[in-house]
Amino acid sequence: MKIRRGWKWFILPMVAALLVATFLLVGCSSGSLGTITENGSTTVQPLAEKLAGAFKAKNPDVNVVIQGGGSAVGIKSVNDGTVDIGAASRELTAADPTLVKHLLARDGIAIIVHPSNPVTGLTKEQIIGIFAGNISNWSQVGGQNKSIDVVAREEGSGTRTAFQDLVMGKALIKSDAILQNSNGFLKTAVSSDSQAIGFISMGLVDSSVKALAINGVAATEENAKNGTYPVVRPLYFLTKTQPTGIVKDFIDFCTGPDGQKIVAEEGYITVE
């Protein structure tokens, strides 16, 4: 009984202290210069977090909140006015609302296979054939006599939309393709299957998968930058109107030299 009572007297003040501390912290940030909110593309998210960190280091009075959600969410939220900045990892279409675009970086999409796959490159036509389901065996494109496991992203993903627009064109990704709902899961799926092919953001390629050359052009940052690599998409920050105040400061920081240095460090293609 005594021990129990002891615990109670210990836990209660702890909880109270935590609550007070939380309120104080919240109070602090709302008392500062202001908060910038951003959400949208999960491809942009890790980059935006790095940029926000660097911006906060220079401007400690400003709080930047970065969230994911996907390009469609970013476009919708900024148009609704729910956030200050929306992020999109694809070109805006006629179906999207009119927004002010701020080109943050460019990102190549790499076609990836298992590192043990002898195939090192494909033509664009072969890639279309594979993803549409017309080519179903690696031997048809110069590989081993094994069936091809097509792995793609789910409907609505910015990476899928960009891949559809930049590679597939009118052709549809076959309906029995394996779908993974993030760049990370897709990479795991390809790295654990010697017959798999998939596509992810070039900045996320590592040694667990092999990026294929397209039409003989290797999937390198350099080739994406000089325009020879054909599958490159823009990464945008979107605002509803021309930005002002701290939102303008943040976007200027990201598109300026300091921000672009981080863009390059993170493996994306810088913009002038």
């Binding site: 789910e154 609505g156 394996i178």
Partner: protein, 288 residues
């Protein structure tokens, strides 16, 4: 006055506590129905429920493949989990010596606590490659069913074991006294007498299986198609919501909520059957 005041008002306090859960249930039902309504209006109930094309960004909103996918993985899991679970429950309740039971019971209980994402990861890196050896891509109905089997086993085992233990001692004594062997007693007396509890366990396990999203996303391949064989990829209803909700907006989002309504109704039906089974079993036992 305070002692009587508390006594008079305590019932209202517990009433408030109890109604909270009902209010939450009602709020969820109203919310998903409201969000799903535009999809039902725009696509039509029949087209939505029995359409086979799911291309939400291009106007295809048929969820039949996902309904079939959910039922297929659940059925597969049940075919594996019912005999396994029942066997394990009989072992724990009747056969195993105390020391083995002491070790096995906590092991089964730990299975419940493992997060579904861990089941999914193990399935993705262990079961999927194994199934790929047999044929197909490995991401399949079979992989989903195997992962779900592991996930529902503890539910079936613990509820079945408890209900076998709850069979009155005189049943077992009576059977043995009449000359039945231990196995005959288990098979012809204990299991039939514990039937309602076992059924409830199976149905609760089924509810868990049909609602599982994370692990299913990771191992079923998520291709929206009616599977022709256990080796084909498929997508479940719960997995379908989780895969696309991040990127959905407008009618696409409403359609995902419509999937939620279908899932809600399915789980409501399963739970009602469970309640009925328990009630009928209790009644039957009383008559005995």
């Amino acid at each position: 006055m305070s002692r009587y005041f508390i006594d008079r008002n305590a019932k209202y306090l517990v009433l408030v506590c109890a109604s909270t859960s009902f209010i939450i249930l009602a709020a969820i039902a109203i919310f998903i129905l409201k969000e799903a309504l535009p999809a039902f209006q725009h696509v039509g109930f029949i087209h939505l429920l029995f359409g086979t094309t799911w291309r939400p960004t291009m106007g295809g909103f048929g969820i039949l493949p996902m309904i079939v996918g959910s039922l297929a993985v659940t059925l597969g899991a049940m075919i594996l989990a019912i005999p396994l679970g029942l066997g394990c429950a009989v072992l724990l309740a009747e056969v195993a010596p105390h020391r083995i039971r002491q070790f096995l019971r906590p092991a089964v209980e730990i299975l419940v606590g493992i997060p579904s994402v861990v089941y999914g990861l193990v399935g993705m890196l262990l079961i999927v490659p194994l199934i790929r050896e047999i044929g197909g891509t490995g991401y399949s109905v079979a992989a989903g069913a195997l992962v779900l089997t592991a996930m529902v086993l503890p539910t079936i085992i613990s509820i079945s074991e408890d209900s076998i233990r709850a069979v009155p001692r005189r049943y077992k004594e009576g059977a043995l006294a009449l000359g039945a062997t231990h196995w005959q007693t288990i098979w012809h007396v204990l299991i039939p007498a514990a039937r309602s509890g076992i059924t409830a366990g199976i149905i609760l396990g089924m509810g868990r299986a049909i609602g599982e999203a994370m692990a299913m996303i990771m191992v079923t391949g998520n291709a929206v198609q009616i599977p022709n064989s256990p080796l084909d990829p498929t997508r479940t209803l719960a997995g379908g919501i989780a895969v696309e909700i991040n990127y959905a907006s407008g009618l696409h989002e409403n359609a995902l909520f419509a999937i939620g309504v279908v899932l809600f109704i399915l789980i409501l039906a399963i739970n009602s059957i469970a309640i009925l089974a328990i009630r009928r079993g209790r009644h039957a036992q009383d008559v005995c």
